[in-house]
Symmetry: C2
Subunit: 281 residues, 2 copies
Amino acid sequence: MLKVGFLGPEGTFSEEASLLYRKKIGNARFMPYSTFHNALIDVNNGKLDECIVPIENSVEGTIGIVMDTLVNEVNLKIKQEIVIPVQHYLLCKAKVKPGQITEVLSHPQVIDQCQHYLRKNLPKAKIRFAFSTADAARQVAEADVVKGFEVPAAIASNTSARLYGLHIIASKVNDYPDNCTRFVVLAKNDHARTGHDKTSLVFSIKKDKPGGLHNILGEFAKRGINLTKIESRPTKRSLGDYFFFIDMQGHRKDKYVSQAIADIRGRTSFFKMLGSYPKIS
Amino acid sequence: MLKVGFLGPEGTFSEEASLLYRKKIGNARFMPYSTFHNALIDVNNGKLDECIVPIENSVEGTIGIVMDTLVNEVNLKIKQEIVIPVQHYLLCKAKVKPGQITEVLSHPQVIDQCQHYLRKNLPKAKIRFAFSTADAARQVAEADVVKGFEVPAAIASNTSARLYGLHIIASKVNDYPDNCTRFVVLAKNDHARTGHDKTSLVFSIKKDKPGGLHNILGEFAKRGINLTKIESRPTKRSLGDYFFFIDMQGHRKDKYVSQAIADIRGRTSFFKMLGSYPKIS
């Protein structure tokens, strides 16, 4: 049976994405992991067939640790993408008003996604970072609440509210209503051509050379290939050295895409194909 | 007297950057802030003349919250840049071996910068997120240490070791030895031309249009203007909408730079000049 890794515990958005994927593929064994890194490593060494990891959030951008592992440590391909809307909820053990909350716990990225809400509604609450939204909910569920003294709250999913028996104090507290996260399914091989595909790749070019990136983008532009994403990330060598992550419409076996890729490979100082997979419409 | 805001408390890398700047400008009043956001807002509303904030790390990339505030909430310009090397230290209250440590506290980005070290040397230690490296050091200094039971350690600067009376258990535990952070001084106005300058700007373009970014980069390439940085960040509207942050060599009043900027402005759906300032050689 297919073995698929995902970031546990129950109640995280990664679990939500894996439930969606389970509906699609049917019979498979889903195994919770405590870090993205370990899940990727276990697909690479064959202990897992696939893993589901978040790769991009519409507010926070690229999930750095996943990208870095894909570039440096494993040889995996993207075979599916899954996009889920992400709504955050303010959760507390007692039925309080937001103004009574003295401390807010969540994952640092989620705190960032709710910073305007927090500044406006809970300006005096102390912020504490948790390892995941589910971990924040668990900590709040286990804490002693003394009304008017210490009232901790978590920002987490509504699934967490149910799982940890917490009250929803405020709904959809994310600053941007269209907040969504893109997950990818990673495996040893990518997906066959469907005629409605996307392709992801990463490369770097020599720095301090005017026009290097411009020339490479030209190979896509002149063939009318639409880039759906371009992101640069530091190569970690020195300030000013970048990896460029590019998503484009089309499959790597489509004629124009394969021509463009053949033409840019020689101009890069690093190149890695991350795979082709069906586009979510 | 000039009032300059920076992110406190003592012992953070922001304080280190502000000490460097103080040496350069001489007499000024340096005021610690608890968040970057408040410091930027206070320069914008005139309570401060300038503030010093980190904008890019060679490992982690752009500091999102600073970039987002610059784009959306204030009208400030970069007038100086400051680059400082950032080395991390493993600190503990007792003189223990790394393997005896049961828990590691630090800022989430610093944990990311030391992930290989932690996986190799402290694979079983629990990771906890703190609000800053200085906050991690303070928490460790205040914790009870029971050898062989709970031994918390912080990853922080060597200044923090001195300030909070902690032992250095391991030095330079960052995975990439050339780790450095770029700070900028923000004010109402940027810097006059020195002949050895850089210019920063941010723009966005309509998405789903092949070649849009390629055309804009062409205006710099055809004039031989070297781009020293290009980074995309989500506009926070939906997946696939990006702001592009670009740094280039030259001052915005240099002939070729001002021509290129004039030519691209009309092709952007959003444009903001972030200022020209002396380049650090």
